[in-house]
Symmetry: D2
Subunit: 340 residues, 4 copies
C-alpha cells in the first residue's frame, strides 16, 4: 500500500464520535480525517468539524461509503447501526473501526464479520481498555511468560455513579452494557478463551435496577481453556471514582495494577492522611488509551497487518455476556458452548 496517511470518514458525531474525531485530527499524525456523517448534522457539528479540519459534513452516511478517496471509516453511531454500517463499509472496500458492541444479536455480528472478512478489509472493535497503560502492563507481563502460566485473572470494574433509569431500561442489562468490557479484558489478560461462567447479581442500591430485571452489583466467575480461573466484580456506583483494577496471579508471581489517581499527593494532619481520588470516569482514565487505539488501527491499515482487536474479539464478549445473563437467570454455571 502506497499510502502516507489514512483518509478517514467518521460515522456519528455524538460524544464518542467527537472524541475519536479530535484524536484523529490532533493526535494521530498518520490519519487524515476528511469527512463526517451524522443524521443530526447541524451548525454546531459543522463548526466542530471546521475546527478539526474536516472538509466534508454530511447527514447521509452513504456519501462516505461511496467516496472512493476514503480509506477507512470510524463507526461511532448508535449501536443498532453498527452491523449494517460494517456490511456497507465492507462492500465499499473500506477499513473499519467500530465502537463496541458490534450488535447484541449474534447472527448479525457473524454476518458483519463474514462480510468484512470476505471483503478483505481491516476490522477493529473499540475495546479501548486494552490500550490503557496499566492493563497493557498486566497483559504484557503475563504474555512475556516471565511469571509462568496464569492461574487467577481478576478484574475489578466499578462505575463512579448510577446511570439514569431511562438509560438502564434500554441498556441490555449490566453484562451486555458494562461487564462486556471486562469480558474482553479477561480474554486479553488470560490469553485464553472463556469456557464457562457463573454469575451472581443483586440490586442493592435502591436506585431501581430491579424493576427492569437488572442488577447494580455483580460477581462473575469463569473458567478459561488454559485452565485458569477468573473473577470479575462490578458495581454501578463507586462514588470515589472509576475503579478499574486488574490482576493476574501466575505460577511464579502476580502482576496487578492500581487505579490512576488525580495526583500523587499526600496530606497529613492530626485529622488523618489523605491521598488523591482515582480519575473520575472513562474519559479521564482512558484518554490516552483512546489515542493509542486509533493509532493502532491506522498503523494496522498502513502496514497491512492484523488489527489488535479483531471482529472475533468483538463477538466473544457478547457471547460471554449472554452466558452470564443466562447463569444469573437460571442460577447455574453456563458453558459458552450453550450460547449461539
Amino acid at each position: 500500500m502506497e499510502m502516507k496517511k489514512v483518509r478517514i470518514g467518521l460515522l456519528g458525531a455524538g460524544r464518542i464520535g467527537k472524541l475519536h474525531g479530535e484524536n484523529l485530527a490532533h493526535a494521530v499524525p498518520e490519519a487524515a480525517l476528511y469527512a463526517v456523517a451524522d443524521p443530526f448534522m447541524n451548525d454546531a457539528t459543522r463548526a466542530w468539524a471546521a475546527d478539526m479540519g474536516i472538509e466534508k459534513c454530511y447527514s447521509d452516511p452513504e456519501k462516505i461509503f461511496s467516496d472512493p478517496t476514503i480509506d477507512a471509516v470510524f463507526i461511532c453511531s448508535s449501536t443498532n447501526t453498527h452491523a449494517d454500517f460494517i456490511l456497507r463499509a465492507a462492500q465499499a472496500g473500506k477499513h473499519i473501526f467500530c465502537e463496541k458492541p458490534i450488535d447484541t444479536d449474534l447472527g448479525k455480528i457473524e454476518e458483519a464479520l463474514a462480510a468484512a472478512k470476505k471483503a478483505g478489509v481491516k476490522l477493529q472493535v473499540g475495546f479501548v481498555r486494552r490500550f490503557d497503560h496499566n492493563h497493557k502492563m498486566v497483559h504484557d507481563t503475563v504474555a512475556s511468560g516471565r511469571l509462568g502460566k496464569p492461574n487467577i485473572v481478576k478484574v475489578t470494574s466499578r462505575d463512579p455513579d448510577h446511570q439514569s433509569m431511562d438509560y438502564i431500561k434500554v441498556s441490555g442489562g449490566i453484562f451486555l452494557d458494562m461487564t462486556i468490557h471486562d469480558f474482553d479484558m479477561v480474554r486479553y489478560l488470560a490469553g485464553s478463551e472463556v469456557t464457562e461462567v457463573t454469575a451472581y447479581g443483586a440490586a442493592l442500591s435502591g436506585a431501581g435496577y430491579e424493576q427492569y430485571g437488572d442488577v447494580d452489583t455483580a460477581i462473575v466467575m469463569m473458567k478459561f481453556e488454559n485452565g485458569a480461573l477468573g473473577v470479575i466484580d462490578n458495581s454501578r456506583a463507586a462514588h470515589y471514582g472509576y475503579d478499574q483494577r486488574t490482576e493476574v496471579h501466575c505460577d511464579k508471581g502476580c502482576v496487578q495494577v492500581a487505579n490512576d489517581l488525580n495526583d500523587m499527593s499526600m496530606i497529613s494532619s492530626a485529622d488523618g492522611v489523605e491521598i488523591a481520588k482515582p480519575t473520575w470516569f472513562f474519559l479521564e482514565r482512558y484518554n490516552n488509551a483512546f489515542i493509542a487505539e486509533a493509532k493502532a488501527f491506522v498503523h494496522a491499515v498502513l502496514t497491512d497487518t492484523e488489527t489488535p482487536v479483531t471482529g472475533f474479539d468483538g463477538l466473544q464478549p457478547v457471547k460471554i455476556a449472554m452466558a452470564a445473563a443466562k447463569s444469573l437467570q437460571e442460577h447455574r454455571p453456563v458453558l459458552l458452548s450453550e450460547i449461539g
Copy 2:
C-alpha cells in the same frame, strides 16, 4: 469474679502451642501461664517451659483438667483432640480457648458447643486474623456504617508456598484447611451470614494436588443474608509471600487493605524500582494478632463478657467449607441450609 490474673493450662506444646505459650508468658500481663501438658513431653519442652516460667509440665492432660487452681485452658493439640478437650474442660468448669478448627465433624462440634454452653464457660475459637490490624480496620469501617451497607466482600488469600503432599493428603482439602480462615473473615467483614456458595477450583501447579482430589487454586462466590455478594480467591503458592488482602465495597465507598510489607523501602535505579515483599507467612504477618487474640480471651474471662470469636463462629466456617467442597464436586451453587 475476684481474679487479678487468669491462671492458664496449655494443652499441646507443638508450634502453635509454643507460640501461644510465649505470648501468654510475655505479652499478656493478665495471664498466668501455670502448666503445660503434651503427650510427647520431653526435656526440650521442659526447658522451654522453664524459660516461660511455667511451673508444671505433664504428659497427661487430665492433670490440667483436674487442677482446681486452673481457670482456663488453651487447646493447641492436634485437631482430632479438640472436641474431646472442650467437653472435658467444660465438665471441669474451665474457660476454653481452642485452636481452629474445632472439628471436621459437625455433630462433634455441636456437642462440644453444647457442653461449653451448659457449663457456662467461655469458649473462643482461634480465628486469629480477626485480630490483625489491617482486617480489623476493614471490619471496623464497615461496622461503623459510615460507608453504608456492604455490597461486595472480597478476600484474597494466598499462601507463600506449597505444603508437602504428605500434608495435603490428610489436610481435608483446601476449603477446610486453608479457605476456612477466609470463610470466617467474610462473615466477620460482612457482618452477616453466608447463605449460598459456588466454588471453582483447579490443580494448576503440577505439584500433585489432583491425586488427592484436591486443588491448589480456587475461587468461591457467596451470598450473604444481608444481600451482599462475596468472593474469595485462593492459591497455595504465591512465591512473593503471604498475600492477605481484604476489601469491602459499600453503598458509599470502599475500604481495602494491602499487605504488610517487610519494610517501607523503595530502591530506584536504571534497572527499575523495587519495593519490599509482603511479610513471608502467618507467623510474620499475624504475630501481633496472636497476642491481641490471647489478650481478648483473657479479657473476656476477667470481665465475664462474650468472647469475640464464639463457638458458633467456630462452627459456621466449617459448614461453609463443606458447602464449598460440595459445590466444587457437584458443579452447582450450594445453599448453606443443605449442610448438616
Copy 3:
C-alpha cells in the same frame, strides 16, 4: 477586549517552540496560532507549520512584531534573544509569553520588565512546573491555609541523566540552568520571598563538571520572609527518571507529592516486588502542565487579568540563583539583598 481567540505569533521553532506550537494548535481552543518565525526557517519547519495550521512562516521575527493582526507572541527562541524580543513585542503592543530565563543579566531583565509594564501588555514567564497537577496540589493546599503557616519547604529536583559537557560549558552553572525552576517553585509553594540562601555543591559524578567550575550535586538552604525555612536538593543524574518531588511542612500538618509513574503496576515474585519508574523527563512529566500554562496565558489575555507567572516571577529566581552561586563560591550565607 472583543476577542474570541488570541492570535499568536511563535518566535523560535526549536524543540520548546514546537512543543508550545503543538499545544496552541491542538489543545488551546481559544488560541489561533497564526505565524512562526525562526532564523533557520526551512522546509521541515514549514511542513510542521502546515500540519499545525500555521499560515505564515518567516525567518525574520520583525514580520511578526509588525503584523497588527497578531495579539501575542510566544518567545521560544534562544535565551540571549529573550530580553530584546520582550522589548520589541512591548513596543509593538503585543502580549508576551516568554520562556525562562528572561535573561542572565539583571539589568536587561529589569529593562524588559519595565518596557512590558509601560506598554501595558501581559507578560508571562515559562515556569511550567507551577501548572503541574502535583505541585499545584501542594501550592493550593498551603495557600488554602488549612494546614496553617508553612514551616519547611522542600524540593527534590533531579534530572534523569547528565547533559553533554558542551552544554554544561555554556549553561551558566547548575543554579541558573537547573535549580532556577526550583527557586521559582519554593517561592510559589511558600507564598513568600526568599531572603537568604546558603548553597553546598559538589562534582561527584566524574562526568567533568568541575572543569567548568560547575557541580552536579547541590543542596541549597534558604530563608523566607514569612519565617519559613526551605531546602532544595539537586542532582544532574538520577538514572531512574525525572525526580520531582515537593513538600511543605506546616503548623498543622504536611503536604507532599510523589512522582508521576509510568503506570500503577506492581509485579511480585520470589525475586522481589517491582513498581513502575517515574516518567522519564520533563516532556513526559510536564506534558499537561505545558498545556495548562498556555491556556492560562491565553485566558489572562482574553480576560485582561494578571498572568499567573509575572515578570517579577521571572526576575526573582535569577536573583536567587545568583545568590546561590555566590554562596557556593564564597562559602557563606548570602542575602538576596546583596544581589543586583
Copy 4:
C-alpha cells in the same frame, strides 16, 4: 568466653530503663536480667522487677558494679550519670550498654571512652534507629555498593508534638536533644564522617522555644569526608505522627524509606481517600529496633566482637550537634575540626 547467657544489671528503672528491662526479660533469649538499681527504688518498681523475673532490686548502683556475677550493665539512668557509670563499670570489668547521649561534655565523654577501652570492655551507645528495619534497609543498600557512591544523604525527622517548655528549658537545645539521632543516622547511612555543617533554625510554632534560645524548626546541611552532601530537616511538631524518613541518592540510583503506618488501609468515598497515619512516636516506631539493639549488644558480648554502635559513634554526634549549634549562633558554616 564460656558463657551461655549474659548476666545483666540494669541501671535506672525509668521509662527507658523499663523498656530495655522488658526486652531483656522477654525478647532476648541470651540475656539474663538479674538485678536493677534505681535511686528511687520503690514497691511499684519492685513489683515490676518481680514480673520481669529480676532477682535483686537496689537503690545503690554500687551493688551492681561490685557483684562479680554480673557480666554487663545497661545504663538507663539520667544523662548526667552516664559518664560516671561508664567509668565505674569499666573499672569493674563489666560490658556496657549506655543510652544516648554519653554526656554533653566532650572531655567527660572522651574520659569515659578511654576507660572502657583500657578495661577492654564492650561499649555500645543507644542509637536505636540504626536497628530499625527501614533505616537499616537504606544503610544496607548503600553499603552493598550496588547503587555506587552516596551523593546526597537526606533525613526527615519530626516529632509528633511539642515537648513541655519545662523539658525544653533543660534539653540542651534541639541539636543535642533531638537532631543528635539524625546526626548519628547520616554517619551511619553515608558510611563517612561529617566534616562541616551549616544550620538554619527558627521558632515558628508560638510554643515559646525562643525564650530559651531554642528553635522548633531546623534544617542542617553537611559535608562528608567521602564528598557526599547531606541534609536533615527537623520539626518539633508534626501532628500527624512521628515522621522519620531517610533517603540516599547515589551514583546509580536512590534508596529511600517511607514511614511505617498504623495499617495498610485505604478508605475511598465521595469525600476523598484516606490512608493510615504514621505510627505515633518512637515507642511505636522503634519497638522492634529496641529489641534488635539489645540482641546486638548481647551478641557482641557473647561472641567477643565489636559492638555495632561504638563509643566513638557516641562521641561524634555530640560534636556535630555542637557544630550545628555554633553554626546557627554564628550564622556561618562550621567545620567539625573547630569543635573540641
